[in-house]
């Protein structure tokens, strides 16, 4: 039993090593409050693209058509809304930041603003990419499935890890002390923040 549990623990750790690093780095990024795309200080890239919205289309349909025209990489379905000037705005979020298209209907064009995030915010977004994402990109889907595997692996690793720790190192006082400290720490924080 111990042989197999240890083997599973090791193999899961090796197969998910990079993703564990991504999870750890994502925690550091949010703790350090790394600037997001709006506060990062980088200047957005602005472009103008000809676009004619069909007269009978709804805002949501126009948003989908804008997506087909621009094909922003790795982005899912747009968030469509109207801005303060009543212009249709389609926001395409992706792991790399935001592509915001503002429809200037009278001029027959789109004002396209691309805000690329920092590598740190990219890592934060990457850690939160799951198969529920609506993006059609193969890379997003493949990464999302790897994240899915790593979520379950993380759970299995923590369970197999504690089993190994308790069965092989229980006689040592610091095993008991570490488990008691970790348990107390978590539940005190849980109760305090709840």
């Amino acid at each position: 039993m111990k042989f197999w549990v240890r083997r599973i623990h090791i193999y899961l750790g090796l197969f998910n090593f990079t993703l564990l690093c991504v999870f750890g780095l994502a925690g550091l990024v949010v703790t350090a409050e790394a600037p997001d795309i709006f506060r990062g200080g980088s200047v957005p890239v602005v472009a103008s693209v000809p676009f004619q919205a069909p007269g009978a289309a709804s805002d949501k349909e126009v948003g989908a058509l804008i997506g087909q025209t621009l094909q922003p990489r790795h982005a899912g379905k747009p968030n469509v809304r109207r801005n303060e000037n009543r212009q249709l705005v389609a926001d395409f979020y992706s792991v790399n930041g935001l592509v915001r298209a503002t429809l200037l209907e009278n001029e027959g064009r789109l004002n396209v603003e691309t805000r690329r995030n920092s590598i740190w915010r990219f890592i934060d977004n990457a850690h939160a990419t799951t198969p529920q994402e609506s993006a059609s990109s193969w890379a997003v889907n493949a990464w999302a499935w790897y994240i899915e595997i790593s979520i379950w692996s993380l759970l299995l690793m923590s369970l197999s890890g504690i089993w190994l720790g308790l069965t092989t190192r229980w006689p040592y006082w610091w095993t008991k002390a570490a488990l008691a400290t970790g348990t107390t720490m978590f539940f005190v924080f849980y109760w305090a923040v709840k």
């Binding site: 193999y11 993703l19 690093c21 703790t31 990457a126 997003v140 994240i147 610091w174 305090a192």
Partner: protein, 187 residues
Amino acid sequence: MYRLLRNTHLVLGLLLFWVVLMYGVSAAQMAHRVRIEQVVTERDVSAAAGLEARPLANLLMEREGLGGEMSAVTSRPGGYRFQFTRAGGNTVIQYDSATGKVHFRETQTGMLGVLNRLHHFHGLHNHTGRRNAWGWLVLFASLGLLALGATGIYLWFKLHTERVAGSLLLAANLVVSVALLIALRAA
């Protein structure tokens, strides 16, 4: 060296067991959009008329036992509203400045909801000491996860019998994940 790193790996793993479990369970909940049940209760209490938001919040915390982070103060006809946000839910307060009537709308989310919120709480510059303390725990857990990975690699490498299979898995992990990250980051 081996013994030191083995013990470090074990102690960190035991210290962070519940935290990692919390992140794993809440990540699975979010990834699969498992529905979080909410229980909503509403009630009215009275306070002095003409209070500003912060004195009212302090009064309600003291008198009604409310807790959490006060946020989202917005004006409304005849008064204002704000909310107390906690991991386990939130309480929206609506205050009528003329009459002093306070309306509570309390939402409780249960354990899955708490885990979900804890997953998102972070940072060392929050409004409450409790949230900042949690932020320090997140920092410790993040560093701990990186240390667990690094010590784990060292411990595996010292196990000569697992080197072939382990090398294949690690190589697969590095090739696939780095290639995917490069593909994702590509403009």
